[in-house]
């Protein structure tokens, strides 16, 4: 499987309600050593309710300058959420389905760190 298989895929709740589409995959570098690095797993998916991909990730970082651009790009990616891998039920026919009771989290990167 390659990352592009996931990016752009629609995400549906267990009830079939549309959450959005996958715009990014959040990786966690917290596994056992793997060569020079550590094993890196998919921690979750960043899902946006909008059709366009996120640009520069303003909605996920604390960067707020230049203010006008930051505000516009954050607004453009409004409503983005993070769903954890543990809440994914299936990935078939290029559609990601969530488990019943799946939780949506803040997509901000500083909220996921150690």
């Amino acid at each position: 499987m390659i990352l592009s298989d996931l990016l752009g895929s629609p995400v549906l709740t267990a009830d079939g309600e549309r959450v959005g589409q996958v715009v990014d995959a959040r990786l966690a570098l917290d596994g056992p050593p793997d060569g020079f690095m550590v094993r890196t797993r998919v921690y979750g998916l960043v899902v946006s309710p909008h059709a366009h991909r996120s640009f520069a990730g303003y909605e996920r970082t604390g960067v707020d300058a230049p203010a006008l651009i930051a505000r516009f790009l954050s607004w453009r990616a409004r409503g983005s959420v993070l769903v954890l891998w543990t809440d994914l039920a299936s990935f078939t026919d290029d559609v990601v389905r969530l488990r019943p009771g799946a939780r949506l989290y803040s997509p901000r990167l500083e909220h996921s760190g150690p």
Binding site: M1, E17, D24, D34, Y43, S112, P114
Partner: protein, 134 residues
Amino acid sequence: MRNDRELPAPPPVAGRVLDADLELLDRQILDPDGVPISAVDDLELSTPADLARLDPEHPPVVQALLTGPILMTRIFGGRLPESRFIRIPWSIVTRVGTVVSVGAAADSLDASWTERWMRDHVISRIPGGRHDPE
């Protein structure tokens, strides 16, 4: 399901986290001497055993950086077949920052074959092409 409310922070992770599209894709790959190798065009992930019933205990892991001739697919759409990508194993990646550093010389990787071919078959046949400028 409403998305526009204040969302809780996800459970913390022991190690670093990074967003693949934001912090890995399109980054330049450099060898230990700083020689450019290529750019990260995609990531190879391990495929879950059963995509219809994903196992929460076994998430996909990153296996390799992928690089390939993706220019045409970016302009005209579509997807490059997996066989056209060249793999750079994740295990030789040493650092992910503004560039991605790997612990192997550029000449030893398949990803730089086009540059080697150009050097050996074209540049070296140009008078003066076999040595540094004086």
